[in-house]
Symmetry: C2
Subunit: 93 residues, 2 copies
């Protein structure tokens, strides 16, 4: 029922589950910079630490500390940078 996911040789890892027919993952990001593409739209809530995000088509980095959230459109992508390990909740919308 729960599913372990690992990306970038373990630099990003998450546990997937489902609530009310919608997939969610809760995971951690090691210090570093990573790129993710989206199929469906996602809401990412930072639950520990802080993430810097560069959205597709935007040159600037935006900072999201614990307690804040951002959304990514379907068929898009984003770069994520963590200065120190951070944790997030990802809801597939």
């Amino acid at each position: 029922m729960l599913k372990h996911n690992s990306y970038f040789e373990g630099g990003v890892q998450s546990i997937g589950f489902e609530r009310h027919g919608r997939r969610q993952t809760v995971g951690a990001i090691a210090a570093g910079e990573f790129h993710f593409d989206t199929a469906g739209a996602e809401r990412m809530t930072v639950v520990s630490g802080e993430l810097s995000i560069r959205f597709a088509g935007d040159a600037a980095w935006h900072s999201y500390p614990a307690g804040t959230a951002f959304e990514i459109a379907a068929n898009s992508g984003f770069d994520v940078r963590a200065a120190t390990p951070a944790a997030y909740l990802c809801e597939f919308l």
Copy 2:
């Protein structure tokens, strides 16, 4: 740097990381009831869904919805019950 943990045949899974020299895990709990013992003290914050907790020495169940947190003393334990899959952040204090 990130570490995958699996308990109860995958019914509880988490990703461990470290911030400021303190260990944290972010994880998910499948629907069901599980018992955990603590070595050090922990703070558990529910980040998705809702958990019911029965603390050691207390017969009553207490409900913790997403956005709330509870702490467990060192060398203690607790029962956790999830009606539907839920996610949490655990900080080792």
